[in-house]
Amino acid sequence: MNLFTLFISGMLINNIILSKFIGMCPFMGVSTKMESAVGMGLAVIFVVFCASVLSWGLYYGVLVPLELEYMKLITFILLIAAFVQFVELFIKKNSPSLYKQLGIYLPLITTNCAVLYVALDNITQKYSLIETIVNSIGVPAGFMLMLCIFSTIRERLRGNDVPKAFEGNPIAFIIAAIMAIAFSSLSGLV
């Protein structure tokens, strides 16, 4: 699979939210405003990219030579949690402006299963380092794209007359389902 195909596949065709239903928690929780969606999306891209590259290095640099491949799940979880703590600490100390924009989303990312999914997927698919890098940008870029599209729809919904029983999350889930159906039509593209 060439790199461009891998990127498009990760971003649109195998979209992590609409085809795998992973990362639904921040998708529903942080999509009420466009501003929040962009902040969360950028933070996820950064963390997924760095965590995936680190996980890839840990797996092929440490676990494989020591024949400890079975430990990938526990080590990746710990590595991601430690990395997010480090990023939060670093931003707190060095960039208050960035903390103001992204800091609030960092604790949410620790519990975002999308980060772990991408790290594990890179290993399961036996991607090289370059493929890992491309996949680790494409997948969270798709996450951000969906978050932004969804937030604009929810912003428009706020001004509309939604039946009381469907207000809030119920109508959001219905919209997410319709978006998933629409995006499933891309599945034969690659």
């Binding site: 929780g29 942080v30 676990l63 430990m71 080590t75 710990l78 939060e88 208050p96 609030i104 809030g168």
Partner: protein, 65 residues
């Protein structure tokens, strides 16, 4: 030997995690960022600090009404 390395790797990562967690909590939030309002309504993670803040904010709003 393999078990020793497995325990060692896990211990190092747990230790690193604990160290960074404690350092992170000890580091003060930058000026002007103390009162950032979270905007996450649907997430159900009970022990998330943001959610606690959000629920407190909601309770305050309800109390003011």
């Amino acid at each position: 030997m393999q078990a020793f390395f497995a325990i060692l790797i896990a211990a190092v990562l747990v230790g690193l995690n604990a160290f960074l967690y404690i350092r992170n909590r000890q580091t003060p939030v930058p000026e002007g960022c103390e009162d950032i309002k979270p905007d996450c309504a649907a997430c159900g993670i009970g022990d998330c600090a943001l959610r606690k803040k959000f629920m407190e904010m909601k309770e305050e709003e309800n109390g003011n009404r």
